[in-house]
């Protein structure tokens, strides 16, 4: 029977269960409420704000931040003759809050389409590169031979970043 006192009692039980499950964190006891809040509740509260961001590109930037903007900037500002050496991740990580996954050629391509790039790990083709990426806090430069940036110093910075990460990694162990 849809309506009855017992049906009403059971509905009350289910409603109370749902309210606790979805809303009451109870410290760390109810992981469902915390997970719901971060995965669904967060969006539900801000859906109007999010809905105003209608551009696909803007959403991409919102989610991926520098991992999207750096490859896009490089693709837009490279010269036709440039073959770009992607820096090691350890170097890029120094200038980014997020993990610098754009230094992986697959992610670079995902963000900016196919470009003439060479991965740092691709030692057999590294010598073919004629354009290099120099990062500074909130700035990026495409360095070329004969330009204002000393390429030997830049390569040295790349190497040092790798060594520094390895040392830190060992220290952490």
């Amino acid at each position: 029977m849809f309506f009855s006192l017992r049906a009403l009692i059971l509905t009350g039980v289910v409603t109370a269960f749902c309210l606790v499950l979805f809303n009451a964190s109870l410290g760390d006891v109810n992981s469902y409420a915390k997970a719901y809040d971060s995965r669904i509740g967060f969006y539900a509260e801000r859906i109007d704000t999010f809905a105003r961001i209608s551009s696909w590109k803007q959403r991409m930037l919102l989610r991926h931040v520098a991992n999207s903007s750096i490859p896009t900037w490089i693709a837009e500002n490279r010269r036709a003759t440039d073959t770009i050496l992607l820096p090691p991740k350890e170097y890029a990580d120094q200038y980014m809050k997020a993990d610098a996954v754009w230094t992986d050629p697959r992610i670079f391509t995902y963000m900016a389409g196919f470009q003439p790039v060479i991965a740092w790990a691709d030692t057999s083709r590294r010598h073919l590169a004629n354009a290099f990426i120099a990062l500074e806090p909130r700035a990026i430069t495409l360095a070329r031979k004969g330009g204002s940036i000393n390429l030997d110093s830049l390569m040295n910075e790349y190497q040092q970043a790798i060594v520094q990460r390895r040392t830190l990694g060992r220290g952490a162990q």
Partner: protein, 453 residues
């Protein structure tokens, strides 16, 4: 949007046709979501055939594959007519007052899941470096065998992500062609259909109130919920595998082995969505043989075992054996990742899995606790281990995952095995619902609800 709507309808019809052809008769709350998922898979495989025939990926081939899938699946006319007559007969679903509360919450979660899958771009590294990278280029070049595998910038850098089993990648291609900028809306649809299926399936074993509570715990399982809109191969794989096993249990419960055909089909679909699943299915089949014992090991059971093994191997081979080896110009170095079986490593992976993954209630909520308490409690109270076939598959899949973690160096406990656990979560809730002790509570609750107690 037109292509999307028509394709979705065609997938549903294809799935219904498949269920008709196999004479599957289950409650409509189970049949409808099951048909959509089965149809998605058939459409997906035929879309793969489009690439094999070099017809090119575009909206006309998406629709064409959908139409052919629908026609093929509905070709067995006498069975199809009989099925649709049954399907459109008077519905038997009884709505209770508390169902409205549960469904209200469920629909809300489903809405935000589909919204998030539509709104946000693809974020997981594996997807951007693998399936979606291949999918995006496949949309522009019209084939899976595209520049991702040949461009000099990718030489030696591909790792194994672009070679993942093709289900999710082909869905990305289809949905990007349909006009979805990030593709992954299909994942939200799979999540909704899977949740709908288990809403119906849990009620086949337990009182609707108990089933509703278990269902809410299932759909809100923290880690599972996150991956309903994050593009990875794990959720879709878990959906097909767990539904395959659930159908096996439902068929056994209803003495209806026709459901086993569609179970075999869904397990084959799971092998089309993640490569290592073929090992898990093999272990599940061995476990089934052990449960069924050799004396009763005949007839429909034998057909199920052979059918599942054949379909699973076929879908595994189609991608890994044929396409990757013969069509693609480069191949993953799988042999290098195989480290062989080492008992001490097995114990170490098992121990890490238990402590770092299974014991983390932040990932799984009550799922593992309920399962363990249910298993032990029922064993003490009823001197039985409950639904043997479900338990056998849960144990087999769990050990299978640990085995995968042991023999593949690339399978990391905190990543691969953590997401591999998705397959177990729906099965564990179904197992709890099917426990004899829960059946007793269900009967008592039903009597009380009907005013007989």
């Amino acid at each position: 949007m037109m292509v999307f709507t028509i394709s979705l309808m065609l997938q549903w019809l294809a799935g219904l046709g498949l269920l008709a052809s196999t004479r599957t008769r289950l409650p409509k709350s189970v049949i409808l979501p099951l048909a959509l998922l089965a149809g998605m898979f058939v459409h997906n495989v035929l879309f793969f055939a489009v690439d094999l025939l070099h017809l090119g990926f575009r909206d006309s081939t998406v629709m064409g594959a959908g139409v052919i899938a629908t026609l093929l699946c509905n070709a067995w006319l006498p069975r199809v007519r009989e099925f649709y007559a049954w399907l459109f007969s008077k519905p038997t679903f009884t709505l209770r007052m508390y169902d409205l509360v549960v469904l209200g919450y469920g629909v809300m979660v489903g809405y935000y899941v589909v919204w998030a899958a539509w709104y946000w771009p693809v974020t997981p590294f594996d997807a951007m470096a693998g399936i979606d990278l291949v999918a995006r280029e496949a949309v522009s070049e019209g084939t899976i065998n595209n520049r991702v595998f040949t461009d000099p910038s990718m030489a030696g850098m591909l790792s194994n992500q672009p070679f993942y089993a093709p289900f999710a990648m082909l869905m990305q291609v289809m949905y990007r062609i349909m006009g979805f900028a990030y593709g992954q809306v299909w994942l939200g649809i799979v999540a909704v259909a899977t949740s709908w299926f288990f809403f119906g399936a849990l009620r086949q074993f337990a009182h609707p109130l108990i089933a509703s509570i278990l269902w809410l715990l299932l759909i809100l399982t923290p880690e599972l919920l996150g991956y309903t809109y994050l593009l990875q191969t794990d959720y879709v794989n878990a959906a097909y595998l767990s539904i395959g096993v659930a159908l096996l249990a439902l068929g056994t419960k209803n003495n209806d082995s026709n459901a086993w055909w569609i179970s075999a089909f869904m397990l084959g679909a799971a092998c089309w969505s993640r490569t290592e699943t073929v090992m898990l299915v093999a272990m599940g089949l061995i476990a089934s043989v052990v449960v069924w014992k050799s004396s009763a090991f005949r007839g429909d059971r034998l057909k199920f075992l052979i059918g599942t093994a054949t379909l699973s191997l076929l879908f595994f081979w189609l991608w890994n054996g044929m396409y990757v080896q013969w069509v693609l110009p480069v191949h993953p170095d799988t042999a290098r990742e195989l480290v062989g079986f080492d008992p001490s490593r097995f114990v170490s992976v098992l121990s890490d899995t238990m402590t770092n993954v299974v014991a983390d209630t932040g990932l799984w909520g009550m799922a593992f606790i309920l399962f363990a308490v249910g298993l032990v409690g029922n064993a003490i109270a009823k001197r039985s281990f409950g639904n043997a076939i479900l338990l056998a598959w849960i144990v087999a899949v769990f050990l299978g995952l640990v085995l995968v973690g042991t023999i593949f160096s690339a399978a990391i406990v905190e990543q691969t095995l953590r997401r591999g656990m998705f397959k177990l979560i729906p099965l564990m809730f179904l197992y709890v619902a099917a426990l004899p002790v829960v059946k007793d509570w269900s009967e008592r609750l039903q009597s009380w609800e009907n005013g007989r107690a």
